[in-house]
Amino acid sequence: MGDDLLLSVQDLRTWFHTDEGVVKAVDGVSFDLRRGETLALVGESGSGKTVTSLSLLNLVPPPGRIAGGRVRYRGQDLLRLPGPALRAVRGDRIAMVFQDPLTSLNPFLRISTQMVEALALHRGLGRRAARARAVEMLEQAGIAAADRRIDQYPHQFSGGMRQRVMIAMALSCDPEILIADEPTSALDVTIQAQILELIQDLTRRTGTAVILITHSLGVVAGVCDTLCVMYAGRIVERGPTAQVFAQPMHPYTRGLIGSVPRLDRPGPGRLVPIPGQPPVLADLPDGCPFHPRCPSAMDVCRRRYPGAAAAGGGQEAHCWLHLEAP
């Protein structure tokens, strides 16, 4: 591993203790993030992508608990960092943007109050300097008349504008990592295009690495270097985006790509959906959790979860099709 390794997640497990039993929302997730890289966690609802991102900064809500694993960042394990040390990283070195900016902004406070607070806390800036920096960030995020609008309340902004505010706020302390959880899923396509362009533009300028959580393969194809596909709490395939799209190894990845209708291709070629229903996390089958829906399922798939099988170029998948059966 080179010096540019920024964050290393190893065997992360986050479990929820519910009345129905233990729900393993994240069950053995590992990935590396390099400086300036944009990495996507892709999956359908319940695949564990959001819980993974919350676990990185120890933000899992109860009854969820981190049951094991490591998140190595700058020689320390974020999962074992005491409160004050973790808070110094959170929001400063590693910042987050959520899907719904309305619930993550305080509706009672002006934008200026919320932005100045973060800058004063993490950067130790005085009020005036912090405000100047906040206005500068809002301007970079494409908010016109930022000097006036910074004194408005969140409800006075449209959905797209609120997401710009969130991005400006997240990037105001020059983080090394930006975690963006479905940042454009609540937005219309024309606004989505603006926001993705903005994230790419700002992070490229500062060399910030991005972990993008999304269910949209289209968004991934446009902006991400590396792709991790999640299913039932695990990363089932990962690799360079172009390579994974061109030659998916895992039947689930192949199924996802085949399920999405294409804007640039004429009908009426038929979509090939993945059969069956999404997995129920509290009641996963033995072996590979995808086997009940898998067109290539073999006997071994029902018994044991496969290890990683590597192709060249950093691509790997957890699938018995690419492994010697035990």
């Binding site: 606004i191 991934v220 446009g222 294409r262 009426p268 999404p278």
Partner: protein, 331 residues
């Protein structure tokens, strides 16, 4: 031949404010005079961004909202002039599938009761003759048609996944053997792997029963897959209508062009070589009458002429209509 559905000058304005001491009443012009028709067995995709009025249009067509203007002719009968039992009788031919399969099914009814409900209601009003054993047989038949096991008939909505719930919603809509189904974002709450299953189900049902769909969606790729013709809506008006193949190959309105260029394509090779038309700003609020083109504020090809009066939807080539002065200079 008269079309199955002919919508003329449809207007759906909602009043806001205007109560005692609350200032003057204003109107949200959700749908502001649109015309379209639907032939038997075809799918008209209605696309646009949130707030453009596409759902209001569908609800006004279904008479769930009573339109504030215009006509909705279903099989030649103007629904806006009908009430009560007459409306119910006419509306049998037109059913609706909603976006959220969680919110649109009564949690206290079983799958059987949910699917039987429209049959029972129409039987009780004397609009349908159906003996008790026939009703059970019809529900089983509908379960088969939408791909749900008959053994599921006594389960409640919470025992189904999102995709299965949407199948129940579709079975309910098909119960009265309609000729037209209004689908309001029927797959947008579903995961992609399930979305493809439901889209294929819509196609199969159309083929089997000759159904016509008014298919509302914000996802342009989904619409391309399902629709034979496409209408693009912006701020309460239609800006472009064309055959699906023609619209995607040759979009004419600057808004359609921007919309198509903004939608991501799940292919890194293709994405690398695409250029985007980035629109400035957001969709304005539909609460005031605008003298000119509704798209003027965000248009990347606007001219002075666009401010004077709104462009009308007119043919450029037969079957391809555009409302834009770039294609029809004002007189």
């Amino acid at each position: 031949m008269t079309p199955l559905l002919d919508v003329k000058g449809l207007q759906m304005h909602f009043p806001v404010g205007g109560r005692w001491l609350r200032g003057p009443r204003t109107w949200i012009r959700a749908v502001d005079g649109i015309d379209f028709h639907l032939r038997r067995g075809e799918t008209l995709g209605l696309v646009g961004e949130s707030g453009c009025g596409k759902s209001s249009a569908a609800r006004a067509v279904a008479q769930l909202y009573r339109p504030t203007g215009g006509q909705v002719l279903l099989l030649g009968q103007d629904l806006t002039r009908l009430d009560g039992k007459d409306l119910m009788a006419a509306r049998q031919h037109m059913q609706m599938v909603f976006q959220d399969p969680y919110a649109s099914l009564d949690p206290r009814l079983t799958a059987f009761e949910l699917i039987a409900e429209p049959l029972r209601i129409h039987r009780a009003r004397g609009l349908l003759k159906l003996a008790r054993p026939d009703l059970a047989r019809r529900v089983d038949q509908l379960l088969d048609q939408v791909g749900l096991a008959r053994s599921f008939r006594n389960r409640y909505p919470h025992q189904f996944s999102g995709g299965q719930r949407q199948r129940i919603g579709i079975a309910r809509a098909l119960a009265l053997s309609p000729e037209l189904v209004l689908c309001d974002e029927p797959v947008s709450a579903l995961d992609v792997s399930i979305q493809a299953q439901i889209l294929n189900l819509f196609k199969d049902l159309q083929e089997a029963f000759g159904l016509a769909y008014l298919f509302i969606a914000h996802d342009l790729a989904v619409v391309r897959y399902i629709a034979t013709r496409v209408a693009v809506m912006y701020l309460g008006t239609l800006v472009e209508v064309a055959d699906a193949a023609e619209l995607y190959r040759n979009p004419q309105h600057p808004y359609t062009q921007a919309l198509l260029s903004a939608a991501p394509i799940p292919d890194p090779q293709v994405e690398k070589s695409r250029s985007r038309i980035l629109l400035a700003g957001d969709v304005p609020a539909p609460d005031q009458e605008r003298p000119g083109c509704p798209f003027y504020d965000r248009c990347w090809r606007r001219m002075d002429a666009c401010l004077a009066h709104p462009p009308r939807l007119q043919d450029t080539v037969p079957g391809h209509q555009v409302a834009c002065f770039l294609h029809h200079p004002p007189d």
